[in-house]
Amino acid sequence: MTFPQFAEAFYGIALLIAQGLLGLAFLLVIIRIVRGPTLPDRVVGLDVLTSASIAFIALVGIETGYTLYVDVAIALGLVGFLATVAFARFILTRGQTEEDAFEQLPFRDPQSKTLSRTSQGSQP
């Protein structure tokens, strides 16, 4: 096996491995976004999702040979950055954490300090 042959085979395998790893990354980030537990955690997840998408778009650009995909990646990076900034502003103006919001609920048991939504403590 000569070096050029090895290089070509390695290139193809590297593309496949990279695609598999990025798919795994998407899955893990989405688990974090679903599990939360708070809004900023989800926003951080969105940030990583944008990074992973940019990486995936670059990979698609390499595979298909269309370097026009770089422009898509730049636009996605811009939108992702603006989304994170907008979410940060939203968190700041909302001014309360999920815990605060939960404490204001009318049906909450005043003794319970936990976030669990069962009403075990309210029975006399």
Partner: protein
């Protein structure tokens, strides 16, 4: 021959970049609180995406396209810390706490103008070991602002 070398470098960059992205995602899942997760999100993520864009730049035919990919990398590295900084600042001001296992918190809480705040030190920043999670009572400014939604002016008074 040179094409083969470029292909090999490309392959290494692709695998390395995607490994960084996966480890950013693993860090996001495994690290205990918001601020430590932000470390994974703001470092490993952009570096991984940057390595893949670099592979694209090496793969591109013309210099203009390679230059655009390099510009995209610079843009990514410039915006990631700003986004992380804004998000960390906003969530800290609103009151999302540190992980209980944290060892130090020297940042002052938002001060309530009227009531006394056990976590605010008149000297300013050097409050030492004042983790607001796990300490007795609730910060005064949070009790105070419970009746109405806090406004911008509350958050800016320090």
């Amino acid at each position: 021959m040179s094409e083969a070398i470029f292909d090999t470098i490309d392959g290494i960059l692709m695998i390395g970049g995607s490994i960084f992205v996966v480890l950013a995602a693993v860090g996001l899942l495994r690290l205990p609180d918001l601020y430590t997760r932000m470390h994974a999100a703001s470092k490993a993520g952009p570096v991984g995406a940057g390595l893949l864009l670099l592979a694209l730049a090496l793969n591109a035919g013309s210099s203009a396209e390679a230059l655009r990919a390099v510009a995209a990398i610079l843009f990514l590295l410039l915006t990631a810390p700003i986004a992380a900084h804004l998000l960390a600042k906003a969530s800290y001001k609103v009151g999302y706490g540190l992980w209980p296992g944290s060892v130090l918190d020297e940042m002052p809480r938002v001060r309530n103008p009227e009531g006394e705040d056990p976590y605010y030190d008149e000297e300013g920043s050097q409050t030492g070991l004042a983790l607001h999670e796990g300490q007795a009572g609730e910060p005064a400014w949070r009790r105070e602002t419970k009746d109405r939604r806090p406004r911008w002016s509350d958050l800016r008074k320090r």
